[in-house]
Symmetry: C2
């Protein structure tokens, strides 16, 4: 039964792998179905019997990236002990992504820039961003930030901004700079807690 499972899922997996490469590198709108099935070595009919539509393939592609990223970040966070290091380590994952050859920015930001307002992919984008923001807020709380939600928003801006700078400006150490900046903001957030909120 293992071979059966392998065979049955291989078409789907190969399609997702091909979509992951092509959609991420060139954009979901630019890449046509024909190029995806060609790279996957799969018939067009198989794609449509498996996913039903291109939109659903795109959604699945983003969903698989969401799952992978969630696991990667969770694993990195879990590998550190102090609350401070756990919070800042999220930026280490970004550093890793950026340093990989072929980095082309945040897949979710890119996809949402191409999608129209009614696209089903926005649900996945929202799920990813909500998860990350919540995670950052929890880590910020554990690290002693005065207003964890506010710090999480600030770190999200740094996180997204670093990805943009790396992609567009070729600022390859953006994530390292963002991490250092995050440390500064964390210090300020802790100081706020000690002295009480200003105003």
């Amino acid at each position: 039964m293992a071979p059966t499972t392998t065979d049955r899922s291989s078409a789907r997996d190969r399609l997702l792998a091909a979509a992951n490469e092509l959609f991420y590198e060139e954009g979901v709108h630019t890449v046509g179905i024909d190029r995806v099935i060609e790279r996957a070595g799969v018939a067009k009919a198989t794609l449509y019997s498996t996913f039903g539509s291109k939109d659903e393939l795109i959604r699945s592609y983003l969903d698989s990236r969401y799952t992978a990223r969630k696991e990667r970040i969770s694993k990195e966070v879990a590998s550190h002990d102090t609350p401070r290091e756990r919070l800042l380590s999220v930026f280490d994952v970004l550093s890793e992504s950026i340093s990989k050859p072929g980095y082309h920015g945040c897949a979710f930001i890119n996809a949402s820039a191409e999608a129209d307002l009614s696209s089903p992919i926005l649900g996945v984008v929202d799920a990813y961003r909500t998860w990350l923001r919540t995670e950052l807020a929890e880590l910020a709380d554990a690290a002693g930030a005065g207003d964890p939600g506010q710090l999480a928003r600030q770190l999200m801006m740094l996180f997204d901004g670093a990805g943009i700078a790396a992609r567009i400006d070729g600022y390859l150490t953006a994530a390292t700079a963002a991490r250092a900046t995050a440390a500064t903001l964390l210090d300020a957030a802790i100081a706020t807690k000690r002295s009480g909120p200003a105003t």
Copy 2:
């Protein structure tokens, strides 16, 4: 001669206005030529005799936004006296943009997400971002930052990140939050100057 000038430039201006609305709201790749000329009330041949290609129309659209934004930011900066307020006022322009109905993120970030690597629009995007970064660095220097270039990079990340959060998360006060965060980073950068760079 005034009427002549008006007539001659009106076709071009109407095309740019239509492109500005449609390309910005729905993406340069999604919107076809036919919809642009329909909204502009211009014949297709006129578009091609004026701009030569869709790519060049897109480039001109971004260029006009670049010019307008440069003027808007310069004007806002000039309206303040203290170096600190001049630096932070850049985020007030972002606040203004976000609060306008139909805000759809940074046009340059969106366009670059849709473009392939050889697209002529990347030149405009790069020109805009280089200008903004340089401007921020000069303002940071005047405000007494220890490392103006570094602070400018940090503020760029906040600036871009706030636009992303506003567009995707509907975080409408992102620019206000980014401005406050920028003030924190400015304070830290000034403190660094006083005490000398930390290692």
